[in-house]
Symmetry: C2
Subunit: 364 residues, 2 copies
């Protein structure tokens, strides 16, 4: 994206920058102690990050607030990302902390349009962890990395005293190569763009919660955890003008779209009836009083593309095994700015906000 000083685009970017700075300055952290909601990915997380971590650590690369940094290696552009995994329990229907960590890092790279060159793997183990649990997780990591063609190239293992961790935490980082000409960011989104979702939502969060809590709910819900780099590449090939890709994990689709609306200083309107939700997930959410739009996914991709490219992007998604149930679920609008609205089939509308905390902590 080229922008000349004085051009309408440059003026727009300036306005977005100023709005972004002003918005960040509104975040403050008044809490004296860390609470679970600070790890939720929602508003409390934003307060922690914008009110404490970013002012201390921020720089131009970090300040873009995409899920993946772009490093300029002079002759090629690199994507670089990291995530800690603290999911409880370690095993859940359809996956475990190991495959989840591999998929999550691949997916953050995919949001920059990058394919993984290599992943790093850092274990923090609790004294007393059954070795066999570690063995099963390591095998799962290997299988997930092999299946995705994403080698684990470096690692570290630490152990802490019994009672000082919760079995196992994993941090994975990833480095990927960004193809020439690809430049994706939430900040590129424009009014008129369409919002695509690669499939049904809420499965990961609900699957982990059902595995954790001794609930009376009997439902066959498995995590959707999957590597999305191929799906992302297919979308970019079909719709090179794609503005941004995002994997709606912690905080769900609601949080991801609110972040994009704030990055680009636009509004986003979703159509309730178009959002794919499996019947079992909808039923579980109703019983638990949760909105599927706030539940984490680990194998879904949001793509925001110009209107004229949206059918091509949708067809590319549907042609991929991980995108069979893809749908165009909404559009980007001028305003209200920095806000996501859900339009109901009855003609009403409700504001879809980020939550302060997470209804389901430690699902990733």
């Amino acid at each position: 994206m080229t922008s000349l000083p004085g051009s309408p685009l440059a003026a727009q970017m300036d306005r977005i920058d100023r709005a972004r700075t002003a918005r960040r300055e509104r975040y403050t952290l008044r809490d004296e102690r860390i609470t679970l909601s600070h790890g939720s990915g929602g508003k409390a997380s934003r307060n922690l990050i914008e009110g404490l971590i970013a002012p201390l650590i921020g720089n131009d690369a970090l300040n873009v607030r995409d899920d993946c940094a772009v490093l300029d290696g002079s002759v090629l552009r690199l994507a670089f990302t990291t995530d800690a995994y603290v999911v409880s329990p370690l095993f859940f229907p359809g996956g475990d902390i190991g495959s989840l960590a591999v998929h999550g890092t691949i997916n953050d790279l995919a949001t920059a349009g990058a394919r993984p060159l290599g992943l790093s793997l850092s274990f923090i183990l609790e004294e007393g962890l059954e070795t066999d649990v570690l063995r099963r997780i390591a095998a799962s990591i290997r299988a997930a990395a092999d299946a995705a063609g994403a080698p684990i190239v470096t690692g570290d293992t630490k152990v802490v005293h019994r009672g000082k961790a919760d079995g196992m935490f994993i941090t994975t980082s990833g480095v990927g190569r960004i193809p020439e000409g690809v430049s994706l960011s939430g900040a590129h989104v424009r009014p008129g763009d369409r919002v695509l979702l690669s499939g049904s939502i809420g499965e990961h969060g609900i699957a982990v919660m059902l595995a954790r809590e001794a609930l009376e709910l009997e439902a066959d819900i498995r995590t959707d955890s999957a590597p999305l780099h191929d799906l992302a590449a297919a979308v970019l090939a079909a719709a090179p003008a794609t503005r941004c890709l995002k994997d709606p994990t912690r905080g769900g689709v609601a949080t991801s779209l609110n972040e994009i609306a704030q990055q680009a200083d636009v509004g986003i309107a979703l159509d309730d009836g178009l959002i794919p939700v499996r019947q079992e997930v909808r039923a579980a959410c109703e019983i638990l009083g949760l909105d599927p739009l706030h539940i984490a996914n680990e194998g879904k991709l949001i793509a925001i593309v110009p209107h004229e490219a949206s059918q091509a992007a949708l067809a590319a998604m549907r042609a991929h095994p991980f995108g069979r149930d893809a749908a165009i679920v909404g559009e980007v609008v001028e305003g209200p700015e920095d806000m996501v609205v859900v339009r109901t089939s009855a003609g009403g509308a409700r504001v879809l906000d980020m939550l302060v905390g997470d209804p389901l902590p430690r699902i990733c």
Copy 2:
């Protein structure tokens, strides 16, 4: 390093490869539960890594067992590394978990001859952590990153329930660019090479231990935690034929040199009287029954260089603020293979082995 099939060098590399494979196959993990010694960096760690993690996750890049992976980005070579930091307490004389994490990752990149392009930062926070503690750590991270010219470009923050972590764990990863022509590895070491050490040893481990334990010891010992990429660059400029660089952290100089001896299938002989140890550290080690060679350092560099380049490398180290007390402390010998021996001034010799566990757990 070029090696033609059939050349003496190729035959030597083949022999090393076979020996390495045979040696790895000897490691087994019989323990049913993780113990603190599995995180020590010593033999128990090797059993865990070679007996469980590597067989499941290993690949050509990981199998080299350097502290830092080399990624081939086609047109440039990248260094990529990760480390988890679980040090207790979070603050200790001369540093804290934040500056330690930044320095540690920069130093792992430096062992590949790379300068950092960017670092990632992943926090795992315990519910109830005082926000002010996080604020101080974040400020320390920023200061360390700025001072080293190593920007934090991406990050993640998770929170776990009270009692499920120990205040804070940090995982940092780093990506660096390796200058053309630089190829460092423990596997490159040859008999006749000299072993250089950039300064006095044992300060980090003893400083953390004194901060942790309510000991009667009154000693002014501060961590040596420091970023070593400039020092590494100075050594490589003065001695381009340098075989390998290593930062002797967990398990100390003893563990690092044993790892190199095993990587290259050679022996290493140290001269006891040449190893710089500060008087306070020596005294503390005597009281505690510890060998300074087993204690972790976070600001020291081991360089193994051809004999003819050793004086140039030493002069370059001594000209740098972090290498003022550098010394040539030993040499690489034909045998006994895979072993480190310390020659005493009285003419004796003792085997310097890796420990099974760590006398000082959680010092990084």
